[in-house]
């Protein structure tokens, strides 16, 4: 893939043209790793220390051969402690995630992100699990670090289909039944709901010592909505129709969506939850690196 390799970040539209998620995940994570020399401390595991370039005399047992296989460069993976962190990815498959103003829908982008995260966890030898949900749980892959877990996760992500409405209560209730040890929970959704209600729903996970990260995936058209003429908008989840005018889209909607995102961010932050906005037109590896940079700085 000469084009992708030469580019610093990979366009989501290019990722959308790829047939398998594992390839997508590898490209994204490789791209993410390629910037590692400038940011040495990245990763989910609390014990993870760093990747370091191999120098003669280093113990070859610490060489990450997978990275070597991809990049033909030898890196040493260094840990601060034992790895027993479980990564749980909650992927929103509600109908609103199917919205797309360009080549990549929110759901596609969310799947790329989910695949990249589980792949990254796999590289760190962390256990990873998956819940695909809308108003009920569509698929559940129990967290594990065993051989073949990555393929199960990627298959689960690839097999996810759009459902109906978003309802955080039920999947999170079930999630609480599965999460018996502390770990990291990542929720990927557009979060088109009341921010207070969202935070109230997910915050119990935080109390168990879990670290909670909310990736809010939004289409650029949702952030910067334009109308050439008055239109009737139909909610993709509820089927509700609302007429709107270009002047409203131009003058009032931008403020409302910004307020919505900002409200969710502030409520999450006050609850000790990470919140990160991901527009679907942004390079995923770049976005991940930025997130992890912020996260590392915060830690």
């Amino acid at each position: 893939m000469p084009v992708e390799l030469t580019n610093r970040f990979v366009d989501p539209a290019v990722l959308a043209g790829m047939s398998s998620l594992d390839l997508v995940a590898k490209i994204v994570v490789d791209g993410f790793i390629s910037g590692l020399h400038r940011s040495p401390d990245f990763g989910f595991s609390q014990e993870f220390a760093e990747y370091r370039a191999y120098t003669p005399g280093d113990d070859l047992r610490h060489v990450d051969w997978n990275v070597y296989a991809r990049t033909e460069k030898a890196y040493l993976k260094r840990y601060r402690g034992e790895t027993n962190t479980a990564l749980m990815v909650l992927l929103d498959a509600s109908a609103s995630m199917g919205f797309a103003s360009g080549a990549v829908s929110k759901f596609d982008y969310a799947r790329f992100l989910a695949a990249s995260l589980v792949y990254l966890a796999h590289l760190q030898r962390d256990s990873a699990g998956l819940i695909v949900f809308h108003d009920e749980v569509q698929n559940f892959v129990r967290p594990s670090a065993r051989q073949g877990q990555l393929m199960r996760l990627l298959h689960g992500i690839e097999a996810a289909v759009l459902g109906k409405r978003t309802d955080f209560k039920r999947p999170f209730f079930e999630l609480q039944q599965f999460l018996k040890r502390r770990g990291i929970t990542v929720v990927i959704s557009d979060f088109f709901d009341d921010p207070g209600k969202i935070v109230d729903t997910v915050i119990p996970l935080r109390f168990r010592g879990n670290e909670l990260i909310l990736f809010q995936v939004l289409d650029p058209a949702e952030l910067d909505f334009h109308l050439a003429e008055p239109a009737v908008l139909v909610d993709m989840e509820t089927g509700e129709a609302v007429e709107t005018s270009p002047s409203y889209a131009r003058e009032e909607y931008p403020g409302k969506i910004r307020a919505h995102v900002s409200d969710l961010h502030s409520r999450a932050e006050s609850a000790g939850i990470d919140h990160f906005l991901l527009p679907t037109n942004r390079a995923l590896d770049e976005a991940m690196r930025e997130y992890f940079t912020i996260r590392q700085g915060r830690l």
Binding site: L233, V234, E243, P246, S247
Partner: protein
């Protein structure tokens, strides 16, 4: 309601276009899926409804514009019943001031009645004063002030013209149509029978006119008058001429009258005659020798009666030498003039003497000293002769052109320029127009045979006054400038016809000669109101002049240089100088129809009063007052308003689209 052009209603179908576009646009707004509408508020729907309402208003204006245009072109109308009662009333006070109103105190009585009418008008009434004779003259505008009306009545003076009730009724009909008011007409006069029009229907007034007739004078008063005088207008020799006069009486008993003949104010002879009751008598005066010059003659009866104006009759007579006629012959054949010269010489009263000359000498002659010129089959004139003759004619001269074979060969008639060609073979003369001045008094050209003739093609404006039996023009009357032209379709010498051998030849020569010499329009006297021609075209730069009976110039400078004619309205002698320089002394006498003072009977007056609307039934009146009132102009104004509103709403709509 109906439509005068209903086919334009098909234009209503065009109104479907904006309707279709509106609906199409409405259906184009398909729902657009969006991830979540939680951030869109319900209140937007009301603004949408407002927008939809605005679009519906725009649609309504567009539909209204198209429909109004279609209806306006269909020209709708409604039956409109004009409310006569709702019209304002214009009181028209008409006073007869014709010549007969000079009788006794009729004029004063009529003015007194007019004053009384004005005084009796309700305050603030709109009234107008008109004077009636053969014309109707408005003396005031419609006025509310009585002073102006009274002053106008005071200024009315009897004229020398005859009254015409037909003209009066015509003017009332015009006022009825044009003023838009109800006319309340009061006509004050002597109601002479002789003023009635030929058809009683000509007295009908308009549908909004009521007429009241007020007769001044009582009964049918007696009146004597010099009805006519027979005197020559021109004499050309010292031979004595007899003058006769007719004295007539209307509603008179037999009476003795002294009749005097005066010339230039000097009594030449006095006779005593007895005029029979309601009859007339002819008075023959001893023949008189008329001295050279123009003279003012008068026949007078005495004693005078109450209408003194018709007790004398004026006439004019002029003594002069015979005038010369130049006969130009071609080809060196003076015998061509023989018949014509002999015919003219056989009628010494014509005052015309024929001189002959070769055609080539025309340019050398002073043509202005001739009464007219005869060109006998001239062929094509040489340029100098042509220029001389044309200049002479345009300046007021006259020419008789006999077109024979030579002229036909030239292809056009000299001076006139009419096309001419060889005609057919033998033809006899056909009809003649005896109403034409050039042939008045001529005998029919019975059995006159033409072995050959020129086929004339008169130009526009020419008048064919005699034709051959085959219909080809035989005698054509034309004008050029101020001059007169007669074109005869054969030579006058008998080379191509036997005309000179017929009895009708001499009257033809004399009468056409009198016409060309301009003597046919110079009678010894004319009735008042007769117009006298001053010039034929306005292009003539020479001024004309008219000096009236009072010795005053009747034309101002502009009229003197442009007026084509002048109406001789006053009794007396007029000195007229035409634009050609010709001078006339014209005697003008009041129309003797005015001398018959017999009034219309009461039943005739009642019939006149009810002629037209007054005599119509109520249903007929309603029918007359019902008119079609079209209102396409109103619809066009509404369409304009709709177009303006459509533009305003449309620009706002487009403005929103551009913003979007």
């Amino acid at each position: 309601m109906g439509f005068l052009s209903p086919w334009f209603l098909a234009g209503i179908a065009v109104a479907g276009l904006p309707l279709w576009l509106h609906l199409l646009r409405k259906f184009k707004r398909t729902p657009q899926p969006f991830s979540s509408v939680m951030l869109f508020e319900r209140r937007l729907e009301s603004s949408s409804r407002h927008r939809r309402l605005r679009e519906l208003l725009l649609l309504a204006f567009r539909l209204a514009l198209l429909l109004l245009l279609a209806f306006a072109f269909a020209n709708p109308f409604v039956k409109h019943t004009s409310a006569v009662a709702g019209r304002r009333t214009l009181h028209v006070i008409a006073v007869d001031h014709s010549f007969s109103m000079r009788y006794g105190h009729r004029m004063q009585d009529a003015k007194a009645r007019a004053h009384a009418l004005v005084n009796a008008l309700p305050g603030g009434s709109l009234a107008e004063v008109v004077a009636v004779d053969s014309h109707v003259q408005a003396l005031t505008q419609p006025e509310r002030g009585r002073a102006a009306l009274q002053s106008a009545i005071d200024q009315i003076q009897p004229s020398d013209l005859a009254s015409s009730f037909g003209e009066f009724a015509r003017v009332l009909r015009v006022m009825d149509r044009s003023t838009g008011m109800r006319l309340d007409v009061h006509f004050i006069g002597d109601m002479q029978q002789t003023s009635m029009p030929p058809a009683f229907a000509d007295l009908a007034a308009g549908p909004h006119t009521s007429l009241s007739l007020s007769r001044v004078g009582s009964g049918d008063p007696p009146n004597w008058a010099v009805e006519s005088v027979s005197a020559p207008a021109r004499v050309y020799s010292a031979a004595r001429r007899q003058i006769t006069a007719v004295i007539a009486g209307w509603e008179t008993s037999a009476a003795s009258k002294t009749v005097s003949l005066l010339l230039d104010g000097k009594t030449l002879e006095t006779k005593h005659v007895t005029v029979p009751a309601n009859g007339r008598v002819e008075v023959k005066f001893s023949p008189i020798a008329v001295p050279y010059g123009a003279h003012r003659g008068e026949v007078r009866i005495e004693p005078h009666d109450a209408l003194a104006g018709d007790d004398s009759f004026l006439f004019s007579v002029e003594r002069s030498d015979s005038r010369k006629v130049l006969f130009l012959y071609a080809g060196g054949h003076p015998e061509e003039a023989l018949y014509y010269k002999t015919a003219m010489a056989s009628a010494p009263g014509s005052g015309l003497v024929v001189e002959t000359a070769r055609l080539e000498q025309a340019a050398a002659k002073n043509l202005s000293q001739y009464a007219y010129v005869v060109l006998n089959d001239p062929g094509k004139l040489d340029p100098e002769s042509d220029r001389a003759v044309c200049s002479y004619v345009e300046g007021g001269g006259a020419v008789l052109i006999a077109a024979g074979a030579r002229t036909a060969g030239a292809g056009h008639v000299p001076v006139s320029g009419d096309a001419v060609s060889f005609g057919g073979g033998s033809e006899i003369a056909g009809s003649i127009d005896k109403n034409a001045a050039a042939l008045a008094g001529s005998a029919d050209f019975k059995n006159v045979r033409f072995s050959r003739y020129a086929s004339l093609s008169p130009k526009a404006g020419a008048r064919v006054i005699a034709r051959l039996s085959g219909g080809s023009p035989l005698l054509v009357q034309e004008h050029r400038g101020e001059g007169r032209i007669l074109i005869f379709a054969a030579p006058l010498d008998g080379s191509e016809s036997d005309f000179p051998l017929h009895a009708s030849y001499v009257p033809f020569v004399v009468q056409t000669g009198r016409y060309l010499a301009g003597e046919e329009d110079q009678p010894s006297s004319v009735a008042t109101g007769t117009p006298v021609q001053l010039r034929r075209t306005r292009s003539q730069g020479t001024a004309a002049n008219v000096i009236g009976p009072g010795g005053r110039r009747e034309l101002d400078i502009r009229q003197a240089s442009t007026a084509l004619s002048f109406d001789l309205d006053q009794d007396g002698f007029y000195q007229v100088q035409r634009a050609t320089g010709a001078r006339l002394l014209v005697a003008v006498d009041a129309d003797r129809r005015e001398s018959d003072l017999a009034a219309l009977p009461d039943d005739t007056l009642a019939l006149w009063r009810h002629t037209g609307t007054a005599g119509a039934s109520q249903s007929d009146r309603r029918k007359q007052q019902t008119r079609d009132r079209t209102f396409w102009r109103d619809l066009l104004l509404l369409a304009l308003a709709a177009a303006l509103l459509e533009s305003i709403f449309g620009s706002r709509y487009l403005g929103r689209g551009r913003e979007a």
